[in-house]
Symmetry: C2
Subunit: 200 residues, 2 copies
DNA sequence: GCGCGATGTATCGCACCGATACATCGCGGC
DNA sequence: GCCGCGATGTATCGGTGCGATACATCGCGC
């Protein structure tokens, strides 16, 4: 997850660790923490993979005769060409890996860099995922409501309403996307009637 | 966290692992997963600490002549006296450890076994925690709104509304608690017997 | 009599969090 | 002048929990 988040941010501009973390907090902080304890290892992995390079911002240490104590300079991370490719791949993913709880928010945050069709598919995937969950909660609630503790019940219902609220939000977003989408040019007119076409 | 959840559930009745997991999903599944990968290690730790014992449900293996292949029986977990004490301690906690994101839900789920005063303090702690966060988001949003990407903005605002919604929920709960609380009578002869009583 | 899904116990690798350590920079107070 | 302190900055460590997986048994339908 961090991988996508970091690549997405670095694609906007090169950053060093501290700044990166500030941005992560600002952009995703509402639903995700992303501490240094995961950021730095992730950066290391990405460097090894070749998605990013670390540029020694200043600190231009003259080889020989260490100028002062070890003098640690800012380390500026920046995307490589392969990194951009990798980012494009991640942004093009429109499967469960894009709409599960932990991942959806990050993908959504970078919708600005995502293909419109992929956007809609992710939003719809997320929505059905939530509707599934809603279904599960409602069923289990119906079966056990009477036996349930007052507080447990309250918790379930609050959770249920949260899910329903997010579903409404998604529905709105999907409609907005559809409206602003260019109507699919000539190739496939497919009128609203879902008549069974081409079925044997 | 699992510790409290498990102790709380086992306090209602002894269970084996599988059942325990089902209950965890049913009670807390809306906001927490709790897979076996954490459940079993946690159970082991708690056994070592002496909070629980594992009773060999059936499988009464006749020593000698293994009846069939190893024949693994259900392992029923049950609370010890120390475990009950430990649970009581955990339920009495009314600090940040009770109202942070990851923990609040679990504590709330066992409010039925929690002292009314502690309940209110946890609810209030949770609420100020959220109000703090709200404040942070609003400020950061005011500073950066113009520079923000359309989708990032949408995400922030949805997050903000979620927080505000939960604050309203908590406020309602707190008021209900206060209303149903008995006005501080005489020093109160604390009914130590845990007679399962709903609030009047 | 066979297959398959529910019940059941258990482990492994991995991502991430929170706390912490440590160094430097820049500013205001005295 | 210089001291302290908070912001900036890089980095690691231990612990918790997740998702996938392995493997065994049971009960049911067909």
């Amino acid at each position: 997850m961090l991988e996508l988040a970091v690549l997405g941010l670095l694609n906007e501009s090169p950053l060093h660790g501290y700044e990166l973390r500030q941005r992560l907090k600002a952009t995703l902080g509402t639903f995700r923490a992303f501490s240094y304890g995961s950021l730095y290892p992730s950066l290391r992995r990405m460097k090894v993979s070749g998605w990013i390079t670390e540029d020694d911002g200043d600190a231009t240490v003259v080889a020989g005769a260490p100028p002062l104590t070890g003098r640690r300079g800012k380390v500026v991370y920046k995307l490589t060409a392969e990194g951009k490719e990798r980012l494009a791949d991640l942004l093009a993913e429109a499967g469960p890996s894009a709409w599960e709880d932990e991942t959806f928010g990050v993908h959504f945050a970078f919708f600005g860099q995502t293909d419109p069709e992929v956007r809609v598919r992710i939003l719809e995937g997320r929505r059905s995922r939530l509707e599934e969950r809603r279904e599960g909660v409602v069923t289990s609630l119906d079966r056990t409501r009477s036996r349930l503790d007052r507080y447990t019940l309250q918790l379930q219902e609050h959770g249920l309403e949260s899910v329903e609220r997010e579903v409404r939000w998604l529905t709105e977003l999907i409609e907005t996307e559809r409206r602003s989408a260019v109507p699919p040019a000539v190739p496939a007119p497919v009128p609203t009637t879902p008549t069974e076409r081409g079925a044997p």
